[in-house]
């Protein structure tokens, strides 16, 4: 194996910058723990550097990278065999195939989500912040917001559904705007 050329390194850097959010999202789906996911992501980066000579630039980079991420997730699970594996191996593969199929426009979803989140206010925003930045459970959120736990769960469900609807409309609107 030879060291990548300067041109190859630059090309890989550009491709990885674009692919990293999707690869990270794939890994986080299967390894919700932040530190575990970061460790696997770094391993994927190392592997991509080593294997980049074999990459065919006529083919999509993200599916190629997801393939290595799939292997690294499975290897991580093997190395931590004492840990309980919540998702079974075939699920790991199926999720990889979904990411590789490029059936979902993750970049579009990401962009649209950030736009939609920016529009949230009041209790909707507050409950999301407590859940997703403080990692609080509905029971803990309920105490802070003086609501019942069940009300918090229903609110989270509705806000997530509303965000998803906003995202889908934004993506559909972007498609119309291109015509």
């Amino acid at each position: 194996m030879t060291r990548p050329t300067q041109e190859q390194s630059e090309q890989l850097a550009v491709l990885w910058t674009q692919a990293q959010p999707v690869v990270s999202a794939y890994i986080r789906t299967l390894l919700p723990d932040y530190h575990q996911a970061e460790e696997v992501l770094q391993r994927v980066a190392v592997t991509l550097v080593r294997k980049f000579e074999a990459y065919d630039p006529d083919r999509a980079f993200v599916p190629w990278a997801i393939g290595f991420a799939r292997f690294e997730v499975l290897r991580y699970r093997r190395d931590h065999a004492t840990d309980r594996h919540r998702f079974e191996s075939d699920i790991v593969g199926q999720v990889a195939e979904l990411y590789q199929s490029e059936d979902i426009d993750f970049a579009g979803w990401r962009e649209a989500l950030r736009s939609c989140v920016g529009r949230l206010q009041g209790r909707n925003r507050e409950v999301l912040k407590l859940r997703y930045t403080q990692d609080e459970s509905p029971t803990e959120i309920a105490k802070e917001m003086n609501m019942s736990s069940n009300a918090v769960r229903q609110l989270l469900h509705r806000v997530r559904a509303s965000l998803r609807q906003c995202i889908e409309r934004a993506i559909a609107g972007k498609g119309a705007d291109r015509e």
Partner: protein, 543 residues
């Protein structure tokens, strides 16, 4: 909605327990849509965490939008605004169904007067684009530091990687074939009813009136209702929103309908496959005949002046759209409609041969195959493989393979069905680890299923295989294969496996294949006994 849907909510809320995960895994497997929902929901959660964290950390906050003002200015989609306001107002213990019912009743926002709505819709179109442009600028600039960090990290890795003298070799046939997303989408105000999910050497006709143009229909392209497609070459697969798959062979012309569980066949032939619960009742409208699927695989062919419906498995219902007369057809039966003279035959499977090429083309991609490690937990028995002989002597009782952690490292990156089977000498019973010396050979046995619709006389099983680092010889169904000796165990080498073809003695249904893997254990170079391992990936080829 499945009963296990609440598990998804529990997962997203961080409330799922360890005991729930088997049921959650089963729910994910139950329907591809469940997996998709979970992946999207997880993705949203991940992105929400990042987005909200960045908002808290960056001094420059996105503008706070006055919702009422935004509605008048048309910056926000008025319907989404209305929904958010309703949620805000109703965020107490009201049951979910009441909110959903309210949402369903509101087709236009109640806060807008009718005289404003026309002007608002026009303003919405312009301002949505502008808002989107602003949002895109914001999104591009905001995570720039993350991108730079990733770039720096990657370059640092490149500097410190040990390059050594090892030749990794190319990875054969990876990545999988390109499936670029479709570039043509239906109007965003019309929901698609199906998707073009695959094509093989396909070409599409230029239609008068421009329903489609060459090169614009690509895998991943959504298909709207009443969209007409003509396939002039090759094969294509269309999947309805309900999960029914339609396999087309050129030349063929089909048309989607208003329903997401029906299509119209104008010319050519198709095979319909309904593998999901929600796709039952999938209907193919043909001239003079409607074919309704009842959970099966069937074919519809329109040769000159005829309509033929064939059932490969399960049942279909054939309905006359004029008289509403219904006929139920079972596996192996065929209905032929010719000039208003329907006939009904009991047929041999061979009579459905006109669909063979269609089946075969798709069988190449999706061959029914046992899969070690797929869905089998550590410590569980793999029912697809057995160990039937040791050092050439048949065992009185075949041994089951037990999934062990070593197999995880051997999930090969390949787009073909593949397995990696390991037989750990610790499981060897009478041949415990450390005691087996010299030549050690285990025979792994599995079975390959050739579908009924495939004529075995024209079929071959092509495989790639490799074994672990102490390999001396391989025999497949008694035929010796020349292999590299003592190739180091390294995933980067697995792309240089041996190729083999089985093209004789194949039958419809189950075909037994034995792999005898001969290793050198406790040799001078490899002094410790370990495991005997085999990797195989498969492809069905038909002439």
């Amino acid at each position: 909605m499945s009963d296990a849907y609440h598990l998804l909510e529990a997962y997203l809320n961080g409330e799922i327990t360890e005991a729930d995960f088997p049921a959650f895994n089963a729910w994910l497997r139950e329907d591809p849509e469940h997996l998709r929902q979970w992946v999207l929901a997880s993705f949203m959660s991940h992105e929400l965490a990042e987005a909200l964290a960045q908002e808290a950390n960056t001094p420059e906050q996105p503008p706070v939008i006055d919702q009422a003002g935004a509605a008048r200015q048309g910056v926000m989609d008025a319907e989404v605004l209305s929904l958010l306001e309703q949620i805000e107002a109703a965020s107490h213990d009201a049951p979910l169904r009441e909110i959903d019912a309210v949402r369903g009743k509101e087709s236009t926002p109640s806060r807008l007067r009718s005289s404003e709505s026309i002007e608002l819709n026009a303003a919405l179109r312009d301002l949505r684009w502008a808002a989107g442009k602003l949002a895109r600028q914001w999104v591009v600039s905001k995570p720039a530091y993350l991108a730079y960090a990733a770039l720096v990290a990657l370059l640092c890795v490149a500097l410190f990687v040990d390059w050594g003298g090892e030749d990794a070799g190319p990875i054969a046939e990876w990545p999988p074939p390109d499936t670029a997303p479709g570039v043509e989408t239906p109007s965003p105000f019309v929901l698609p009813v199906a998707t073009l999910t695959a094509e093989y050497d396909a070409a599409w006709a230029l239609q008068p009136g421009g329903d489609q143009r060459p090169g614009t229909i690509r895998p991943g392209a959504p298909l709207g209702p009443n969209q007409r497609l003509t396939l002039t070459e090759g094969f294509a697969e269309i999947t309805t929103n309900r999960g029914a798959k339609v396999l087309l062979e050129a030349p063929a012309t089909i048309e989607t309908t208003d329903s997401d569980n029906a299509i119209r066949l104008h010319r050519g032939k198709l095979v319909g496959k309904c593998e999901t619960e929600s796709s039952k009742g999938f209907t193919v409208h043909a001239p003079g005949m409607d074919v309704v699927d009842l959970g099966t695989e069937f074919g519809v062919d329109l040769p000159e002046g005829e309509v033929i419906a064939v059932v490969f498995s399960g049942q279909i219902k054939v309905v006359s759209p004029e008289t509403q007369e219904k006929v139920l057809l079972d596996h192996g039966q065929m209905m032929r409609l010719k000039a208003d003279q329907p006939e009904r035959f009991f047929i041999e499977p061979r009579v459905g041969q006109q669909f063979n090429q269609l089946h075969l083309q798709f069988s190449k991609r999706k061959m029914e195959l046992p899969g070690t490690g797929v869905g089998i937990l550590e410590g569980q028995v793999d029912p697809n493989w057995q160990v039937v002989a040791f050092n050439g002597l048949e065992m009185d009782t075949p041994q089951s393979l037990v999934q062990n952690p070593l197999t995880h490292v051997h999930q090969i990156i390949t787009d073909r069905p593949a397995q990696w089977i390991t037989w750990n000498l610790d499981n060897a019973g009478d041949h415990p680890a450390g005691q087996a010396k010299g030549r050690v050979a285990f025979t792994f046995r599995t079975q390959i299923n050739i579908p009924d619709s495939v004529d075995p006389a024209y079929a071959r099983i092509a495989m790639r295989f490799a074994a672990d680092n102490q390999l001396q010889a391989m025999y497949i169904n008694g035929n010796r294969i020349v292999v590299e000796e003592e190739s180091p165990i390294d995933l980067s080498r697995i792309e240089a496996p041996r190729f083999w073809m089985i093209d004789d003695h194949l039958v419809r249904g189950q075909n037994t294949i034995d792999f005898e893997v001969v290793n050198i254990q406790n040799s001078e170079r490899f002094p410790t006994a370990g495991h005997v391992a085999l990797f195989v990936d498969w492809q069905l080829i038909v002439n």
